[in-house]
Symmetry: C2
Subunit: 336 residues, 2 copies
DNA sequence: TTGCGAAATGACAACGTTGTCATTTCGTTA
DNA sequence: TAACGAAATGACAACGTTGTCATTTCGCAA
C-alpha cells in the first residue's frame, strides 16, 4: 500500500522510490524507448505504487503551451450542442482539451473582456461563439500571440471567422420556390437580435431581388411555434401567398397549422420551407422541406482553423459551411 | 509602441520597464492596496505598454490549484445544453473556468480512463456526465485528491452523484393519472440503453404496483415522433387504454397524432403525458401535460457540489433535483 | 534635526517539470 | 584485457510566478 503522506507525488518522489534520477522518470514518460526496459519497469512500478500523475502546471510552464483551446460561449442555443460536439470531437482527435467560459445570462460582455479573461487561462488559441452582435465587434483586436477564431456570419477585420452559410441557405430555399414556379415568397423571421435570423432574412431578400421581385413585408416571429401560428393566420388572408419561408422549423410548423385551421392545405394551396430540419423529431411523418445546417461540421472547422493557425496567429481566413436542402413534400411544383 | 521582440512578456519584463522589483509587480496584481499609488500606476502603465498577461502555468504551479473544474461529456444530448449552461454559469459565478473533454462518438470509454485523462489536465475537481451505463461504474474509484461528482441517476459507492429525479417524475405523472380516476397507465419508452428511459420506466412501474395495479407491457420507442406514432397505433386498439405516459414529448406527440388518426380524441378518449415540456416550442397551442426537469438547476447543483467538496474530496453525497408537472389539458378527469 | 514604528519594496527560494550537456555503463572489437 | 563508440543515465539550470523574510523608505513626534 502506498503511504499517502504527501499531498502531491512528484517525479522526484517516483525517482527516489525507483532508485533512479528525476530525469529518467521524465524520460520514461516522454521518450520511453530511450530507457532500458528493466529501468522502465521499475519506474512504472513506482509510479503505480505512489499514484503519480504528471503536474499539468509544471509541464506546461516548461513547454510553453497547454494543449488546450479556449471556447467562449456568448449564448447557448439549440444548435450549439452539435457545434460543441463537433468542436470537442475535433479537439479530442487532435489531442487538445477545451477550456470553456460563458457569458452569464443577462450580463453584457464584449469580445475584449472575454479575450482578456480567456488569455489568462490555459489556452493556446480560442474560439468565440457569437450569435448576437456585440458592441466592440469591429474594433476588437485579438492578442497577437493567440490564434482567435470567431464563429459568426459577419466578416471581421482581423480575426478568422467560421459560419454556416445562413444567407446562402436562405437564398437556396427561395430559389427552390422560384424554380418550382412560385412568383413570390413570404418570410417569417426569428428574434430580431439574432444574427441567424438577420442573415436568413438577408438571403431571402437578395434572392428575390436578384430575380427582380419586390420582397413583401417580412413577418416578425420569435422562433416559437405560436408566433409562427400568428404569422400563418395573417398569411392565410393573402391571396397571392403561395410560398412561405420560415426562419426555423418550429415557426414553419406554426404557419402550417394556422393555414390548415383556415382551410388551406400544404402544399396544395401554400408551400412552406423551414430551417434546421428538426421537425421530424417531433412530428410523425413530417412533410416539411427544410434547410439544414451542419453545426457539427461547423464546430470541427472552427477547431481545425484554430489549430492550423496556432503557429501563425495573425493569419486570417473566412470559412462558410454550406447548408443542405432536405426535400420533403411541403413545396408544390406550380410549373405547367 | 511596444516592441514585440520577446514572445512572452513576464513580470520581470514589466518590473524592469517600470523600474521596480518583480515582486512589486506581483503585488500590484494580487494585493494592489499594499503598493503606493504612484508605483501602482507606473506598473500598470508598463503592463499595458508591454501587453503583459499573467502566465497561468506559473501561477497555478505556485498556488497548487487551477481554478478550473473538469467536465467529462460521455454523451451529448438535448437536455445537455441546459445542464452545461447551468454548470458554466455556476462556475463563472464562483470564479471557476471549465475544462472539457468528450468521449468521441462510438469510442468506448470507462470512468477510469476519463478520470486518468482528466487528472492530467488543469482541474481542481471534476464532473462526469453519464447518461448511459459504463462497464466500470461500480468498481470505479476517483483520485483521492480530486473531488469527483457523477451526474447519473444511479447511486455510486464512493463518488457524489447528482441527478434529476426521473423516477420520481414518472411516479408523479402516474399518480396524476390515477388521481384523476384512470385505472391503468400505458408506457412508451425511449431508447433501451438510455438511463433516463430506464428510470422513467422504473418510476411508472413502481407507481402502478404501489396501487396494486399490474403494469401492462411497455411499448418500445426510440425518442422520435415516428416511434411514438407506431406505439399510438397499437394503443388505439386497446379498449382499456385511457392513459398513456410517453418517455418524452416527441413520442407523446406521435402517440397523439396516431390516436387522432384512429378517430380517438385527446383527452376525451385517451389522456397523455410526456416528459421534458418542449412541445410548446414546436406545436402551436400545445395541450400536452408534461414532466419537466430542471436541467439548468441540475448543472448548478453539480458544480456547487464539486466546489463544496474541493477541500474534502472523499466526502460523498447524493442530490436529486425534483421534476415539475407542467399541467395543460391532455389529461381528462374521469372521476364522476 | 533625530529617532522611531509603520508602510513600502526587494532579494531569494520554491513549485514540478523538461532541455542541455556531462558522465557513467554497456557491448564490441582489437 | 584494453580501448572504444554508443547507449543509458544523471546534474543542473530554467520556465514565471508567489511566499518568506529582510531591507529600505516614509510620515510623524520629540
Amino acid at each position: 500500500m502506498a503511504t499517502m503522506d504527501k499531498k502531491n507525488v512528484s517525479m522526484n518522489d517516483v525517482a527516489v522510490a525507483a532508485g533512479v534520477s528525476l530525469k529518467t522518470v521524465s524520460r520514461v514518460i516522454n521518450e520511453p524507448d530511450s530507457v532500458r526496459e528493466s529501468t522502465r519497469d521499475r519506474v512504472h512500478a513506482a509510479m503505480e505504487e505512489l499514484g503519480f500523475r504528471t503536474n499539468f502546471a509544471a509541464r506546461s510552464l516548461k513547454l510553453g503551451r497547454y494543449g488546450c483551446i479556449g471556447v467562449v460561449l456568448f449564448h447557448l442555443s439549440g444548435g450549439a450542442v452539435d457545434m460543441i460536439d463537433g468542436i470537442a470531437d475535433a479537439a479530442e482527435e487532435r489531442g487538445f482539451a477545451l477550456t470553456m467560459i460563458k457569458k452569464r445570462a443577462g450580463e453584457k460582455m464584449t469580445l475584449a473582456e472575454a479575450a482578456r479573461r480567456m488569455s489568462q487561462l490555459p489556452v493556446d488559441g480560442m474560439i468565440f461563439n457569437l450569435r448576437q452582435m456585440v458592441d466592440d465587434f469591429d474594433t476588437f483586436e485579438a492578442p497577437k500571440d493567440l490564434k482567435t477564431v470567431i464563429i459568426t456570419p459577419m466578416e471581421h477585420p482581423t480575426c478568422s471567422t467560421v459560419s454556416d452559410d445562413q444567407e446562402g441557405g436562405a437564398r437556396m430555399a427561395c430559389e427552390y420556390f422560384l424554380d418550382h414556379g412560385h412568383k413570390n415568397v413570404y418570410f417569417v423571421s426569428g428574434k430580431k437580435e439574432s444574427l441567424s435570423s438577420q442573415c436568413r432574412m438577408k438571403g431571402w431578400r437578395a434572392a428575390l431581388e436578384t430575380r427582380g421581385i419586390e420582397p413583401p413585408e417580412p413577418l416578425q416571429g420569435d422562433w416559437n411555434a405560436d408566433s409562427g401560428y400568428a404569422a400563418g393566420l395573417v398569411l392565410a388572408d393573402k391571396p397571392d401567398c403561395t410560398a412561405v419561408l420560415a426562419a426555423n422549423d418550429c415557426m414553419a410548423n406554426g404557419v402550417m397549422m394556422a393555414l390548415r385551421d383556415r382551410g388551406l392545405r400544404v402544399p396544395d394551396d401554400v408551400s412552406v420551407i423551414g430551417f434546421d430540419d428538426e421537425l421530424y423529431k417531433t412530428i410523425p411523418n413530417s412533410i416539411l422541406t427544410s434547410v439544414k445546417f451542419r453545426h457539427r461540421e461547423l464546430g470541427i472547422r472552427a477547431l481545425n482553423e484554430v489549430v492550423a493557425g496556432l503557429e501563425a496567429p495573425s493569419s486570417r481566413s473566412r470559412t462558410l459551411v454550406s447548408g443542405v436542402l432536405v426535400e420533403r413534400s411541403s413545396v408544390k411544383d406550380l410549373r405547367a
